[in-house]
Amino acid sequence: MKMYLRFLWRCFRLSFVGDWRYYAWMLLLSVIVLLGLNAYAKQLVYGLVTTGMTDQVSWGLYIANFTYLVGMAAAAVMVVIPVYIYGRRELHDLVIFGELFAVVAIIMCLLFVQVDLGRPDRFMHMLWRFNFPVSMLTWDVIALGGYLLLNLHICGYLIYCAYRGVHPSRRFYIPFVFIAIAWAISIHTVTAFLFVGLGGRPFWNAAIIAPRFLASAFAAGPAFIILTLQVIRRYAGYHVGDDALKLLRNIVTIALTVNMFLLICELFTEFYADSAHIVSIKYLFFGLHGHYGLVPWIWTATVLNSIALFILYLPFRRSLRFMNIACVCMIVGIWIEKGMGLVVPAFIPSPLGELVEYQPTLNETLVCLGIWAFGLLLYTIFVRISVPVLTGRVTADDASESHSVPR
């Protein structure tokens, strides 16, 4: 026990150590986190009136980011599945980064839900009267909480074993890895059901939403991991093989293709039938009654995703630089698609046909940025800790010895 506490303590110390770039990066993130915290404090005092949300558009950036990040968390399995199901060794050493990413994403998800609540002080009402299994939100709470615990366990166990220099016992993590794979798919499915189950919102009430969620998440998530792995390779001195990146690239390519295909299916169904249900999607893509609030967003997303797909199918995708461009396009494109393209348009027009547009406020944006910065801060710290531990540069043995950390 003492050893474990000591391990945690050393992790804590380790997270304050780095070169000037590390400090600058962490300082930048801290500043943004503080801005976000300040904005959230204001929101707590004055209420959600500080956001751009209204009774008409009652969910905005917060839930949009939440949805996106659930996808990102779920996407960690795209690093795990090739290793544990298809035995692709090239990703084996990178699984931990995927899992850590999932942990961070889930924490961000929970924060986004928290800031979206009108009465966060009553969060514990969830424990006292939990409307399970009727409310999909309770499913989501269970799914997210469970996934967080699973990944914390897997990461913590693997890192702690590496720290002690012990070979991890397969019994203690392999079953959890497989549970986590199934769980990851379920978290995003459940999150999709959150929207799909609402009969009063035709835009959401379509079976295609859940598969599209998964497809887009499995594109954006691994794309994000591709980028972080390169950062880790460059700055943390951890070996990341090009093979691994290529494997992830293939996954991303397929997922993005499926996502685009499903988008086309959706567009066809809506626009060819031309029924009353299409108002929201019409508003989204073409505007309605002189309101074009989301049109630039969705077309940006569509163009970005198309560019990404285009790059990924051309020969020059082999170049890392082009692949990175594709990844950035995709991450941004899918973020817009989930947020401005999925959460918001279902509210416009309102069920009574009222057209009220949604425009995030500065305060709301700062809260979102703060949470993102907090997530990145956490991830940086996690990577900062896990890399030296995994490479054996920080172990239990050297706790009392002088040992310098390579930079």
Binding site: N38, T51, Q56, G118, L137, G353
Partner: protein
Amino acid sequence: MTSEDQLVATGGRDNLTRRSFLRGSLGAAGGAAALAAAMSPLRHMDTEDFTVEKFLQKHYKEMSPSDMEAVLERIRGEVEKRYAIRPELRDIKANDGVEFAYALHLGRCIGCRRCVHACVAENNTSRSPEIQYIRVLEMPKGSIDLEQGRHDYDRPKVPDPDHYYMPIQCHQCANPPCVKVCPVEATWQEQDGLVVIDYDWCIGCRYCEAACPYWARRFNFAEPQVPRENINPNMAYLSNRPRKQGVMEKCHFCIQRTREGRMPACLEVCPVGARKFGNILDPESEVSQILNNKHVFVLKEEVGTLPRFFYYFDEDYPRSESLVSLPVISGGGHA
């Protein structure tokens, strides 16, 4: 931690450690200061809303009569303090053998919005930001496509001959999607069919607002403002007692009136008698008669919510000389 560690760690490099310790604590102090300053807006927070008593308050259904009396007394005190009026606050339970229903004569409504304002006055809903449970739509004749409706019509006179008017409020559905989705059971359906909210239990996630096909739910985005002199002291726990920032509210058919046998406020003020309310389990009641004898329809039937709010119109005679005074969905009931 241990002296041994300390010794090993600091051995021979006392100066350096002290300096780095100094730096570390300076950095920590800076961080703490920034953190505290970032959270400083919280000093404006209404601390009275965060008491242990409120934190431990039970769910409506779990409160014993004495619990409830204590809570009611506390709320009376709060209202008295804020609005300088002693409210007649009580918890009114549903009556046996009663199921409420509402019927609205579409051909008769003139869109004067008196119901909206009577509702605001009766239910102590926020005047700023404005919260209104009833929305009156000005619909072009020949359509029940809500998207064609106008919400903010502002004519010198109503009704406009080319339009009919459709007030929409909570439909008190028998299969309420809002109740289904609430993660904390802060909203539920009572025995008399009313869907109610425990304002002290709601966490403000607004999932119900997203789920409602009738856009009947409202959220307190800011602290609701009601002028002191306008407060209605006739209050019930589940209905019109003052709400707090960050919780949902909605039409409850004026529980504080209807569960004591009276008509809802929106009905009594209607200048044309377009609104009808009563006990649907009583075959002689006005609403039962209307459901039996009139052309009745419900809004968005396809969503399967089974509303208790019905729209109806006459079969034999139109309201005025206009041959198309009624919406066309009457199925040829009129000329």
